[in-house]
Amino acid sequence: MGIVIAVISGKGGVGKTTATANLGLGIAINNKKCVVVDFDIGQRNLDMILGLENRVVYDMVQVMDGEANLKQALIKSKVNENLHFLAASQTKDKSVLDSDKVEKLVSELRESFDFVILDAPAGIESGYEHTIEFADAAIVVVNPEVSSIRDADRAIGILDSKSAKVKAGDDVAKYLVINRIVADMVESGEMLKSDDILEILNIKLLGKIPEDKGVIDASNQGKPVILDKKSIAGQAYDRISGRLCGQKVDMKDIEVSDAGLFKKITGIFK
C-alpha cells in the first residue's frame, strides 16, 4: 500500500507542476515505484515538463469513465523505469470529476505504487478539492511572496476541512516547499525568510529551492532539472526526494532542525 501525496499551492505559477515532476523522478531514482498524476484537467502541463507529451494515448478521465484501463493509460518514463505518469484530460473540464471515481482511481494506484503524487490544479475550486480529498499528505508549494503565501493558506484551510482523512477524525500531514528563493534578497531583508513563512502558515518545512535559471532550460527540453547534477534547484529536489523516501538529509543553510520532520515523514510508511 503506497502513500498518496497531493502537491498543492493555491496560486498558480509558483512551480507546483515542476515540483511534482522533479519529486516524482527523485523518488523513482531512490528506487521507489512512483506514479505522478496530472489532476489539472483542461490545462495539461505535467506531460510537457516530463517530456512525455507525445506518448499520451489515454488520460485519467478515460480511465475513470472506463473507456481505458489503467494499464493502457499509464506511461512509463524512459529516464527511470520506476516512474510512471498518468495524464490529465485536455478536452474535458474540471466538472467531470466526482468523488467516487477519484476515490476508485486513487485506491487502484495506491495498490501498485509506493508513491502516488497528485498534481493539483491552481485555485481552490472543485478540481482542487477532488485532488486533496483522498490524499494522505500534502506538499504545499509557495514562493517567498505575499500573494502566493496568502493563497496557500486558503488552500491549506480547504485541505483541513475537505480531506477524507480529516473528516474521519485523522490528521492530514502537510509539508512546505519554498520555491524560487533568492539568497541575497533574503539577506538584505527584501525577501521573506523561510522561518517567517513557516510561522505565518504554521506548517513544517520539507525543503527550500533556490531560484535557478536551469529550471526553464530543463522544462524547455522536457528533462526535469533534477537530472542536471550541477543545477542548484536540481540538487534541492534531490535532497527533498531523499527526505520523502525516509533518508536523513540535512536542511541546507536552513536554521531549523529537520530531525522532527524526518521522523514524521518516515512515520507515514509504518
Binding site: 505575499v146 503565501i149 486558503r154 475537505k162 533574503v186 527584501e190 517567517d196 505565518i200 502558515l201
Partner: protein, 78 residues
C-alpha cells in the same frame, strides 16, 4: 521621526501585512469541518415546520470566544 518606516525592510513589511491578512481570511472563511453537514440538517429540521429558502452559518471569533451565527431565511411561498 518618519525614518522609522523608511528603515523597515520590505520583508518585514510583507510579514506584518501577511499576518494581518491571513488572520482576517481565516476568521471570515474557515469555519468548522462540519458546517456543510450541519447546514443540511438544519434545513431538514426547520422544513418540518416552515419553508426554508436558505441557511447561512458563520463562525465568529471575538478574542477567546468562538460562536456560530446561524441565519435561516424562510420561504413564505413554500
Amino acid at each position: 521621526m518618519f525614518g522609522f518606516f523608511e528603515n523597515k525592510k520590505s520583508a518585514t513589511v510583507a510579514k506584518d501585512r501577511l499576518t494581518i491578512a491571513i488572520m482576517s481570511d481565516r476568521d471570515r472563511t474557515n469555519g468548522y469541518p462540519f458546517m456543510d453537514e450541519m447546514k443540511a440538517e438544519i434545513i431538514k429540521v426547520v422544513q418540518k415546520y416552515v419553508g426554508v429558502k436558505d441557511v447561512e452559518i458563520r463562525k465568529e471569533v471575538d478574542g477567546e470566544v468562538e460562536a456560530l451565527a446561524i441565519d435561516v431565511e424562510l420561504d413564505k411561498n413554500a
